[in-house]
Subunit: 362 residues, 2 copies
Amino acid sequence: MNKHAHSESSQPLKIPTLSDVALAAGVSYATADRVSNERGNVADKSVRKVRDAMDALGYVRNAAAANLSRRRTYRLAFLLPKGPNAFFSRVRAHIDSLLNHLQADQINVTIIEIDAFEIEGLKRSLLSIADAAYDGIAVVGLHSPEIVEPLEKIRSQGTIVVGLVSDLPTLHREAYIGINNVAAGRTAGRLLGLAHADKQGRVQIIAGSLKARDHKDRLKGFSDVIREDYPKIELLDPIMARDNPDKVKAAVNEALIAKPKVTALYNVGAGNTGLVEALEQNTRKKRFFCVVHELVQHSHKALLNKHVDVVIDQRPDEEIDRALTTLKALIDDRTALPMQDLVPTIYVRDNLPSNNSHTTPD
Amino acid sequence: MNKHAHSESSQPLKIPTLSDVALAAGVSYATADRVSNERGNVADKSVRKVRDAMDALGYVRNAAAANLSRRRTYRLAFLLPKGPNAFFSRVRAHIDSLLNHLQADQINVTIIEIDAFEIEGLKRSLLSIADAAYDGIAVVGLHSPEIVEPLEKIRSQGTIVVGLVSDLPTLHREAYIGINNVAAGRTAGRLLGLAHADKQGRVQIIAGSLKARDHKDRLKGFSDVIREDYPKIELLDPIMARDNPDKVKAAVNEALIAKPKVTALYNVGAGNTGLVEALEQNTRKKRFFCVVHELVQHSHKALLNKHVDVVIDQRPDEEIDRALTTLKALIDDRTALPMQDLVPTIYVRDNLPSNNSHTTPD
DNA sequence: GCCAAAATGATTGGCGTCAATCAATAAATG
DNA sequence: CATTTATTGATTGACGCCAATCATTTTGGC
């Protein structure tokens, strides 16, 4: 009764090689190779024999041997905004930590710093790498028609382009690796709404700039959820703080003092050090329900200190891993492999990672 | 650290080989090889010369060539509970989807089904694979001293053993890949607490069995948080439903009818189809705040239908990926690589994966 | 300075695939 | 039928590393 069933897979100690396939198919190695690598000039009949033999033996090309023989190396570049931003420090740190491992697989990654969020800077950077003959690049992009031309110049040389964190013009990149920021905003709104439990509320929103697409998307998602499902919560006009800690601090203080009925804060963008500072100095007894984005050193600490209740994070480590996997796959066979959606992650005090790569100081 | 300038990467990019290292170090290939593979019988002076040359050239062993030459194949097994459990179906499906990719890297994975959560069955299964000479196994385990002996028998043959989802006796496995269930329970408690916003509340807890360590841990975490931070919420005695949908349904109905002041439900374990059924037939207008575990088809749907408010998930896909990576690393060099903690993931209606290819809306 | 031990050098045959060459055979054409 | 053309076969040298053998040199003990 308690038999354990082995699954379909047997114990093939002998892994079939292409020679084995050729033998089984009754053709020469050369023909099997022609089929395997789609070199053409093979009769349909032979193709079928070889393919059948492959299935029968369960042949899978040995990736190590193939890569070795092919002398394939992957030349990749990541174009990241420069500057002291804590989030992108996390990204860079993670790439650095992978460098050795990647090199063992002949994957060479270069980080190129670009002017953060300025179309002209991005455009210039793209043009300047157009001749560098990368096999693939991941770009923290902007959704602007102005960069279509440089993108196409790069792509015309066979370079694979993917968007990272923030998307590029959809038709001019192969894939986008990042979260859906509307969903991220909705998630923030949902938790904030839940935490009001049918009570009245007023939210002060702080954002960087509505020109940044991610901020705009988050704000939209957030507002939609509140309006749809939490009508008792009032949305105050967002304060624009340009992701600047000082401006954020001022905004929070304004909300604390000039708008005494505020029950919650939502910071759409960066600059959370300022937010935490303001809250630490807060003399009001009643506390805010507070939602911010991106788990970095100070937001992590603020969560533990109870100045912040929820952090919505986009898991840059995973984004990088996926960007690498996707680029490699696209370069190899020009087909992206299906992966589960990247999704905004919710952190509260109790599900924080303890061994962290995100505590890198900025 | 932050010295990532525009890299000088337009060169031919000659990746150094071990021959290059030998040449640069002024020793023979044989000596460089002795150092590289730690074969011993090398003078300290030579070791130093070779190591210096490696650093100077930035030598990293070509993994493809090494694996090919070594003729290394990885024979792995996953021991999973059998039965129709939705969660483990997800696990199996994910492994299946990886099979081809893995085989290209000479990784052969066998799924072995074991009697779910019965010590005797697990023990028998372990003993029966002891001679199969796997390089590594991942076991959905039990924290019981009875399986120490079979585990040690397996390990004595050089097989690497890791715990998966549910841990094994700590000293008798190499690593554990799974979430911290106390944290998972705390997370559930935190969200349920937040959603009460200082109001009174009563929670009906439903659990499978407190003999299962994961359930016990979750329950502890949950109760701790409520007691610590939400004193206005009363914890009713847990109902044991053995992860059985019918029993869960009965438990929910009991809470609905016999305990009219219940404001929230927390299902620690499985059997959520029963929970949803009961809620769908609920005639009371006031709804519960409802937290369950594991994102599977029906809990996903329940989240969208608003019968469930929060799902705590352990991301089995990622667990599998990590189990594979960890096993491979341990087999290769007997050292687990550092990875960010696996953490309980929170899903609300708005951050669900949609599994479509990731195209930004415009 | 002799001899054993230790260290180093030199070289080789794979591993499985790729990419090429050249010869040999089969099929198609007029 | 002769002559193209298409298809197959046979073989080979990388790729970079591993693992082994055997020869040679250096070192250290006495």
